[in-house]
């Protein structure tokens, strides 16, 4: 990994993606901002390199080790797929702003290929056609990235001025509670589930439904 990418990664990890400017990145490298343009074409390209590096870490850190044991019948393909998605979410959650960096752009490089290949293998072993496996892996990725993007998105400025996320959610809950119940009967019933702070269960619910649906599609 180039010094530039590792410096960029360090800035993002310590100060967040919004703090990553060409000037800040140059400072991290002990160099002037203008110098970066000898190594790189634009800030966009820095973000591409960052996304590619993160994708590489997805492969080494988030892909379960036993994906190849699906083809041998030792592991159920639905379980392998679930574990992959759960690990991917965990990865995106723990590396600062990783979801924003990866989801915001489409880098069709070798790193993506290396991530997709084993997952496609799991789906093929599960009995999906090459066509459906492509669609399925895309769907899973979109769901996981969309979920993490949502759960780590800033709350609206109005209800988030330096607040804890859970406090802000309590505010939303209170606001829903104050709505006329005859106009919003279903919302009133579902408010607790909608404003839970722990999204673990919610993630699993959607993922399980999705994989159930894929499983039913094979039969």
């Amino acid at each position: 990994m180039s010094a530039l990418v590792s410096a960029a990664l360090e800035v993002v990890e310590r100060e967040g993606l919004d703090a990553l400017s060409m000037r800040r990145l140059a400072e991290q490298l002990g160099v002037q901002a203008a110098s970066l343009y000898w190594h790189v074409q634009s800030k966009e390209q820095v973000l591409d390199l960052l996304a590619d590096e993160l994708l590489d870490r997805v492969r080494t850190e988030a892909l379960p080790a036993d994906l190849d044991r699906v083809a041998t019948g030792e592991v159920a393909w639905t379980d392998a797929l679930t574990e992959t998605a759960v690990n991917y979410r965990a990865f995106l959650r723990c590396r600062r702003d990783a979801a924003r960096i990866i989801a915001g752009r489409f880098v069709g490089g070798i790193s993506l290929a290396r991530v997709l290949e084993p997952i496609l293998g799991v789906l093929r072993a599960g009995g999906l056609s090459a066509h459906d496996a492509a669609y399925a892996v895309y769907t899973i990725i979109v769901y996981v990235q969309g979920f993490v993007l949502h759960e780590s998105s800033p709350l609206s400025a109005s209800n988030a001025e330096g607040m804890e996320r859970s406090d802000a959610l309590r505010g939303v809950k209170a606001a829903i509670g104050a709505l006329p119940e005859d106009e919003f009967p279903h919302l009133a019933e579902s408010v607790d589930a909608l404003t839970e702070a722990n999204l673990e269960e919610r993630f699993r619910f959607g993922l399980d439904r999705l994989i159930d649906g894929l499983s039913a599609h094979v039969r």
Copy 2:
């Protein structure tokens, strides 16, 4: 709708979200940038207002008119849900940068409540518990937003220099084709489905699997 919000919406529609600066917005209103801060606390708040306005339009423009005919048994809940998701995607696709604006922040206001209420009604009529209906609507929203975010995301700077999206995809396809086939056998089989330019069918595939899974969960 306030003049400020409608001006902001106009700038976004004509020049894109990236062109929306406080200075550009002020110009649109025939005023100095500093003046905006009498009406609004920050740019963040402008984006919140924008998201809220768009959510209001989701309700009036994207929610199917016959959602209440699910409760009477005239319309199948799965069909109503599918139509809602399809319409929502179409809405996000046709209003410039709407996905980025809405997905990027969580505005727990009345506009969101008005969107969620009828969808929750559909799910409740379909037999889901209040708890599961909450999870299900969240899952659908995450999937649709994640999908549109992905399909309208910029391609990496390296393969998108002023290129058409379809040309860039052809480039990705060629790159995958050049990979050693013994190392990437599944990718080689799935490359066509992965690099299709038309995402209509792909969207429906994931959505159908998801709603199938929800449907199976009820029984």
